[in-house]
Symmetry: C2
Subunit: 295 residues, 2 copies
Amino acid sequence: MTDKTTIAFVGLGSMGLPMAKNLVKAGHSVRGFDMRREAMDALAAAGGERSADLAAACEEASVLILMVVNAAQARNVLIDAGALSALPAGTHVCLMATCPPDEVVALGAEVRTAGKVLVDCPVSGGVVGAKAGTLTIMVGAPKAAFDAVAPILRAMGDKLYHCGPEVGQGAVVKAINQLLCGVHLAAAGEALALGQKAGVDVATLLDIVSGSAASSWMLKDRGPRMLMDEPPVTSAVDIFVKDLGIALSAGRSSGMGLPLAAAAHQMFLAESGSGNGLADDSQVIAAYRRLNGIS
Amino acid sequence: MTDKTTIAFVGLGSMGLPMAKNLVKAGHSVRGFDMRREAMDALAAAGGERSADLAAACEEASVLILMVVNAAQARNVLIDAGALSALPAGTHVCLMATCPPDEVVALGAEVRTAGKVLVDCPVSGGVVGAKAGTLTIMVGAPKAAFDAVAPILRAMGDKLYHCGPEVGQGAVVKAINQLLCGVHLAAAGEALALGQKAGVDVATLLDIVSGSAASSWMLKDRGPRMLMDEPPVTSAVDIFVKDLGIALSAGRSSGMGLPLAAAAHQMFLAESGSGNGLADDSQVIAAYRRLNGIS
């Protein structure tokens, strides 16, 4: 699989399309499928192939990559839409979407029953990392499966980790990554809203905490947008409604109470429920402002 | 006050002693007072002066610096032990301990009534910053008082911020700084304990989240100690019981609910209440382990 591999790629969205293009650049034969025709056109223009339908994309593939929105879409593609039965025996199915670990485990069993191999390999790094081929890829899979797909994955990400030998362990690590991101983001909102309510200069406050032991990646990245009147949208509030939900689901599966993740999730839910689910995720601070009567 | 100033310095502990020494190095006449004789001996050996008693330290001072443990000690020194009445009229009193904002405001009024000027100026940066003279100093005081003591403060810290014109606003910023530190520390414990319970390789997990958008200063600094069996103590669990308590007190004074700070505080309280208040603060992870039956 280290040379030219035939890869079926399903889900050519803002992350998937640049990832598929990087596979083309690495010399692979990439057969894309997406519900949106213009996404397949864009892949074809970059040297990939447009598939007539999902079965056509899968029939001669050695690897299927799923970069769909969530676990329900992955199940739909594999089971309901027939990708699993169209794939040749022994094919590796790389599930790169962010999904609850228990759903990944369940899909893994169904893929195995069908004579194929699920590789649990979600990513982080966003659209920037997808375009640059610098994604972090967190793999849960037996060592043999990890080794088999590693050369393919390295065309999309430069930080490839084998998190454990079981399907679902990549999803757990991704869920924990998002737990930290979401809690840090809500904490930044809590801190800056308190500064505002207490009447201190919030720009000075942000400057101080960004340069001290109080700092986080999220505080430095999202903090300035929390202080803007109309911040640009880089990632939506609803993404953290979903991802902290997945973190809590990972906790439930493991029998683990997560008080901070639960509290942070409520603030994103409240912001989404106030009609701002598509706003920039920095606007979780607006939930704190409403909660505490800060105008 | 830019040249040689006579400074009374009360509280020569692990932070106060190196701060007082930096004032001596900057050319000031520093009269130290501490309940422990060996602390005064150490200051005298560095070129400062040992005071016979608190009144003697205060009588000819232009500035009094308080680097005591908490607001109760500050009140005790100023009011009960008589420092305020011993100081010359118009003296600046620099309160550098971490205190609840409302107690700083109350002390400010009493200092003003006594004809002196309280400068609210807590610090962050720890013993390392105290020794190197690189503390962050957060000042809440009228501009004239800030300007008057700034040259003195710069001998102890290289990041001097005027947070607002009112006494208590420095304390608010420090409380918010500690809110973020405490929440990030508890979040790191929550994340790594979940990884442990879910059976992933926690060293790999820590490596991944330390290098992604999930990262925080606290995660990178305390994370490795969370995975040690017997970590060295750099700062105790009880410090965050106190400091998150101050953050919650700042929220109460401002009429602001702080769900993440409250949840994090409970985890530090639980760890302290289990007999581990003097353990390294990274051991907040042990509260998560007990809570969730992780051995």
